[in-house]
């Protein structure tokens, strides 16, 4: 009796141990992997953006083995952390202009995507359930081709129209590549609309056009905003499309980063631009989710 009661009294400890054991064993490997190959590299980039380039490109060592050398020209130390990259960025309007242009291009792309996605998403959601999957699959199917193939296709098409290497070509390809990212969330939203709402609106005297603008469109705003995030953010980091289809003035933030890392090999500067891009992305993502939540909340209040 006493023996068995002691064995029972030990059980709570055993139980909690096992629970945390399972938890560790499944969360530890992915956690370590992501810390090593995502968090740590990101951290290095943050630090790198405050460093200066090394002699042969890359980053100068933060703690050199040789005593720090004094730069003869301006008398500054060649090592340590510096704000120089950021001051360069903010002192030359050329960089601000590229950021501004990228945001404008991303905004225009998002707008056109929304414009084109709406009829498709609406068309699918108005179909009977059995046909929706097929129509949706037809939207996703072009994804089966490689990203570069989809860009390349426009080289063939736009060539005869003398549109190659222009900003128009860049926008067309950006829209083409990102359109499904707008259609899918918009459809997911439209599909949830209660068809009775449309009937009710019509029943209460609204024309189809009024019904769309007063009922369907406001209700679909959360879908549009989440789709916008999915289009806007990748466009900002895009470098291949401007490079393949664009002209000299089509460069975006992505090109700036790529050039810094692979051509001029000024890695601290590239890291700094990447940091600025990260901040921009975070701001856009935050804005989109705020807008999406707000429109959702407003709808809840309205009901």
């Amino acid at each position: 009796m006493s023996a068995s009661s002691t064995s029972h009294s030990q059980l709570p400890i055993k139980h909690t141990k096992r629970k945390s054991f399972t938890r560790w064993i499944i969360s530890f490997p992915p956690m370590i992997y992501m810390i090593l190959f995502f968090a740590l590299p990101s951290l290095i980039m943050v630090v790198g953006s405050f460093m200066i380039p090394g002699d042969t490109g890359g980053l100068a060592p933060l703690f050199p083995i040789a005593p720090p050398q004094i730069n003869a020209q301006d008398g500054l130390q060649e090592t340590g952390l510096t704000l120089e990259n950021y001051t360069t960025f903010f002192s030359d309007t050329v960089f601000a202009w590229i950021f501004f242009k990228s945001v404008a291009v991303a905004g225009l792309t998002t707008f056109i995507c929304a414009l084109m996605a709406y009829p498709v998403a609406l068309l699918i959601s108005r179909h009977p359930k059995s046909q929706r999957d097929l129509l949706l699959l037809l939207v996703v199917l072009p994804f089966a081709s490689n990203f570069l193939v989809r860009v390349y296709a426009w080289m063939i098409i736009l060539g005869p129209f003398n549109l190659l290497f222009t900003n128009t070509a860049v926008i067309i390809a950006l829209v083409y590549v990102h359109l499904p990212f707008m259609i899918l969330p918009l459809y997911t939203n439209l599909e949830k609309h209660d068809p009775a709402l449309l009937d009710a609106a019509r029943d209460l005297g609204a024309s189809p056009w009024q019904t769309f603008w007063k009922v369907t469109f406001p209700l679909s705003l959360p879908g549009i905003f989440s789709g916008s995030a999915l289009v806007f953010i990748p466009v900002l980091g895009m470098f291949a499309i401007p490079e393949i289809l664009g002209g000299k003035d089509s460069l975006l933030v992505g090109n700036l980063i790529k050039e810094a890392f692979l051509a001029t090999r000024d890695w601290p500067f590239g890291s700094m631009v990447s940091m600025m891009l990260t901040l921009l992305v975070l701001a856009i993502a935050g804005l989109c989710s705020w807008l999406s939540n707000r429109s959702r909340r407003l709808q809840m209040k309205g009901v």
Binding site: M34, F37, R126, P128, L136, L141, S145, G237, S271, V281
Partner: protein, 262 residues
């Protein structure tokens, strides 16, 4: 049946034009891959010459081999780690782990590419190669697998895992007999998706490929930077076929998980 209501003609026209916009470029690529002309301008006649040329292109074959190997290994790694992450996030609601796993999916790819470039070269002082591509691909595929697995778990009645324990299953048996069979379609879908993402990836591979290691997208990139040749059409068509069949398999195995992921 309100869904059977008449769809306005304007909506049909607009919707179908967008579908046309999505498909015409790809159809053009496929058609010109069989065109007996060096220019992608007008139809001359049918030929398989570009495919033949492709299969005698040694560089291209090695790149294809590399692509398949990288995709296989990174899909394997991402599937194991992503499944673990998906289950762990669903089970224990770990905000830190989910931030770590899902952020790379939402970020512009270039950021992951350059930060890993810094990491390997500047921090670890390593030369890039096949391994760095595999590691990078695994990093962003983990998130996709975790999303698919988690969506599948979210769609399930949480009580069944408790029921299994209640009926005498140890945690391991609960996983083996109940959870694993139920999330298997999601795991397979995640694996196929990782494979597709890896084989198609250009941006990250572009930063991760050192001298000497090439993949199919990198080959296409260098070809179209130089000139537009029907050979590119041929390789594009083949790549399309490959991903298409992978998507087909995925939709057969787990139709609902593919949808849920969208």
């Amino acid at each position: 049946m309100s869904s059977a209501k008449k769809i306005p003609l304007r909506l049909w026209t607009a919707g179908l034009s967008v579908y046309a916009f999505l498909y015409i470029p790809l159809i053009v690529v496929v058609i010109f891959s069989f065109n007996d002309s060096k220019l992608n301008a007008q139809w001359v006649g049918f030929t398989l010459a570009w495919y033949k040329k492709l299969f005698s292109n040694q560089e291209m074959l090695i790149a294809a081999q590399n692509s398949l190997f990288i995709a296989f290994v990174s899909a394997l790694g991402a599937t194991v780690l992503g499944t673990m992450a998906g289950v762990a996030i669903h089970r224990y609601k770990l905000p830190f782990l989910s931030a770590m796993v899902f952020t790379p999916v939402a970020m512009p790819e270039i950021l992951l590419g350059v930060s890993l470039l810094l990491f390997f070269i500047q921090f670890l002082h390593l030369t890039l190669g096949m391994y760095s591509i595999i590691i990078a691909h695994t990093t962003f595929c983990i998130g996709f697998v975790a999303i698919i697995v988690r969506v599948r778990l979210q769609g399930m009645n949480e009580n069944i895992f408790e029921a299994a324990r209640d009926l005498g299953a140890t945690p391991w048996n609960c996983f083996r007999y109940i959870m694993f069979p139920l999330i298997r379609p999601a795991i397979i879908a995640g694996a196929l998706m990782s494979f597709t993402l890896s084989i198609d990836d250009f941006v990250i591979t572009f930063f991760m490929a050192g001298v000497g290691v090439s993949t199919l997208p990198l080959q296409i990139y260098s070809m179209i930077k130089v000139a537009v040749t029907p050979e590119v059409n041929a390789i594009s068509t083949l790549l399309m076929l490959l991903t298409l069949s992978l998507m087909f398999i995925a939709s057969r195995i787990a139709p609902d998980t593919l949808k849920g992921q969208a």
